[in-house]
Assembly symmetry: C3
Homo-oligomer: 341 residues x 3
């Protein structure tokens, strides 16, 4: 399925190998020696491909699929069409992720330092890095092993990166300390000065931003996302947090571990997200507000007060999701009553 | 009017030539040999300039204008001030676009391959391309004729571009197949991996994104816009679609032909826009929702369910625009009643 | 407090010097010869550090702080903990900005023209500029004195910059005239073509954008912000205006002096902001609307009609903030009544 111009595939693998890799089980009589060539969506998969069913919405597509192999929960296994061999698993989507990683493993970059990269004499690079053309690495920067710095990325003086990081083309890193296995997509801007000034009698007075951005291990940062450094003190992003494209994170924001920030979300200065909290696309946190641990905020919401851990919220201002829908219903009723009158 | 530092003008052209180019008609007694030097807005135009009136709101400006020539609908022609010669046309704004293109034609770039560009030996470039300093073109890339790759743009391995494309400064293209006459503005990121992972017992598991971005002919993509590639399968943008700045398009989104996406709009994973659909600035489509053919969604709206073809919608969640305004009125009444009580 | 990898500090300074610099006064018996080493937040400051109290919310932190020195309004001076010396001032946050600038003065860049920058023979550079690797400056560009063009920034043909400007890494400037002391953060795109086309029988017809972007002195432009040039005529940004990250400013927008635009705000074509107006994060102005002088629009609002000078507005559509909260209360009441029924 994948275009060989862009991707190289591993395998093929036997049904038995794949089932083991995804912690799935085969049904009686399945031939574990059969060969799987690739992963594919239900509607595009062929007889050598592995697909998955994770959502009731797609049962019809599952029943019509020509996939030779499919990851599926036990309750749907019996509905597989003729010619499909199922691998039963508890979390088919997670299993699919694991299978896809088997066919398309994330390889370490081929080590290479382009003669067109400009690396300061006082920068340190770990073993087996790849630094592409027109990348710039400043004095005192310390880059770990197997990092991949793509074309035109700029790492300012003193920046620290752990091992196995990727910095996308054209990204800018300043005043930041980054852990290992961090992926930064093209065009991200990290460590820029915050939007901070005091208003004086002759207009705004810029406040020097002398803080940093600290990013823990296993974080992902999307394309064209911006993360300002702290005014004093650090902007902080905890381990395993996933940040989508075009997210804006202001000075001194504190994000816990394992958080999820969808596209075009925005966090104003000094706002906080507890561990495993989640905010939807285009949502915002106001200055200094705190989103509790594991709280979830829907898309296009605006958080203007602290919100409790574990809750689910929606709207601008964001309120508990049940209240949001109650309001919507009440407004609709109000309109129909108005019509009747 | 235009600054010669930045733009070079063609012409001058005779009134007759311009009227023909815009499919307009002259009034009795107009001297078709008179000369028009430039296009300009109503309030800045002089006696050699051509302006236009397209909106009733600007009739006063039209009546006060010193423009020597003006594109105008028949119904307003009689209100032209003394000294103004009108060209009567059905769609004055469209006529203005055509006239402006006559004075400022889009020239093919001057062919040049900068010695500071890095083009892989295994990339193919068509005739008469312009590739500026610090651009990078990867192995197996195939670029059509007369393409203009601006300074610092990066085209990854295998990327395909048709003829007459422009890739703006600092843009990044990966894993994409692009048609002809496609304009990509500076800082756009195309083909980055999608925001997709499965949540496992030890945190999120990244799903490899082995799809592509497919962009048909005559598409425009604004500055700092981001378009992720498909998880498996393609993210697709149909012919003639216009995308403004800072739009976010997630993995596997399907956009039809002739669509319009205004600034800072966001389309979540696998959402769809039918042909000629339109979404306003800062609007969003949720995962998997489908906006019907020719449907229009106003600014700052949130589409959370499929919306029918041809309708006009507003609000978050987006509803038919009449219902949105009815709700606004009902809420306002509710407040005034509350005051009275 | 600040990380010496990234920042170099001036000083130390005597208490007397600092008090003079911030226009503050010492209390009776204070020893003006004592030495202050750095600025720091209340909870991180030590005995040699200067902090500030600007918000009642932080009085507890103030009373618990170990800061040796603190900027504070007269009314709170008596609540300073033992061991803290206060500098009394009218606007502690403004005073802190001034103090921080004393410890971390904005230095002119070290003059240097990288041999890896590509500067057109017909461009002019003022004295003492710094132009880093892979920057590109086009023909006819005129750059003032002491400008700092960071790595990979691109300045197109004819662009004009005043003195003491900074253009961040990877930013793109086209068709623009920029004043002095303007700071442009990494990845900003200025002078790109606007999103303008007329709809004809065979689809959209691109309108050539032959205007410019004009930016006055002392403006700041955030990372990955985009500013389109005018269709005809100029997009204009007045003196001292502060623009945050990921703001979108369309063709022909007119922004007055001293305005503030928070992150991810968006201004549609030909919209206007009067002097000292302010719009919150993620807020939008529709085409052609005018926000009056000194008006303030809260976060995530949508301005669809002209709004009067001096007012404060919230919501989408934006209404006077009192009305917004009245509506919220009315809706909440409606829901609770609905429950009772």
């Amino acid at each position: 399925m994948s275009d060989p111009r862009f991707f190289s595939r591993s395998g093929p693998f036997s049904l038995r190998e794949v089932a083991a890799a995804v912690d799935g089980s085969l049904q009686d009589g399945a031939d574990g020696d059969r060969v799987i060539a690739d992963v594919a969506p239900l509607d595009g998969a062929g007889s050598d491909d592995l697909s998955f069913l994770d959502n009731r919405k797609y049962i019809a597509a599952f029943e019509a699929s020509r996939a030779g192999f499919c990851l599926v929960a036990a309750e749907f296994a019996a509905r597989a069409p003729a010619g499909m061999t199922v691998i039963v698993c508890e979390q088919p989507y997670l299993a699919f992720a694991l299978a896809a990683r088997k066919f398309y493993p994330q390889a370490a970059p081929e080590p290479w330092i382009s003669p067109d990269a400009r690396i300061d004499r006082e920068a340190e690079l770990g073993a087996d890095c790849r630094v592409e053309a027109f990348a710039v690495i400043g004095a005192g920067a310390r880059i770990g092993a197997r990092c991949h710095i793509e074309a035109g990325a700029t790492l300012g003086a003193g920046v620290i990166l752990g091992d196995d990081c990727r910095v996308g083309s054209g990204a800018s890193l300043l005043c930041c300390i980054v852990g290992s296995r961090v992926a930064i997509d093209p065009g991200a801007r990290i460590g820029t000065q915050g939007f901070g000034f005091a208003v004086g009698p002759r207009g705004p007075v810029r406040i020097p931003h002398t803080g940093r951005v600290v990013i823990e291990d296993d974080v992902e940062i999307g394309a064209n996302t911006t993360i300002d450094r702290g005014t004093t003190g650090d902007t902080f992003i905890g381990r395993g947090t996933m940040i989508d494209n075009q997210v804006q994170i202001a000075h001194n924001v504190q994000i816990g571990r394992g958080c999820i920030l969808a596209g075009q979300a925005g966090l104003a200065g000094s706002s906080q997200m507890g561990d495993y909290a989640m905010i939807g696309g285009k949502s915002g946190l106001a200055n200094h507000v705190k989103l509790g641990k594991g709280a979830r905020v829907g898309a296009q919401s605006g958080v203007v007060d602290d919100l409790e851990a574990g809750g689910t919220y929606l709207g601008a201002p964001a309120i508990p999701i049940k209240d949001f829908w109650r309001q919507q219903i009440a407004i609709r009723r109000l309109v129909s009553r108005g019509k009747g009158a």
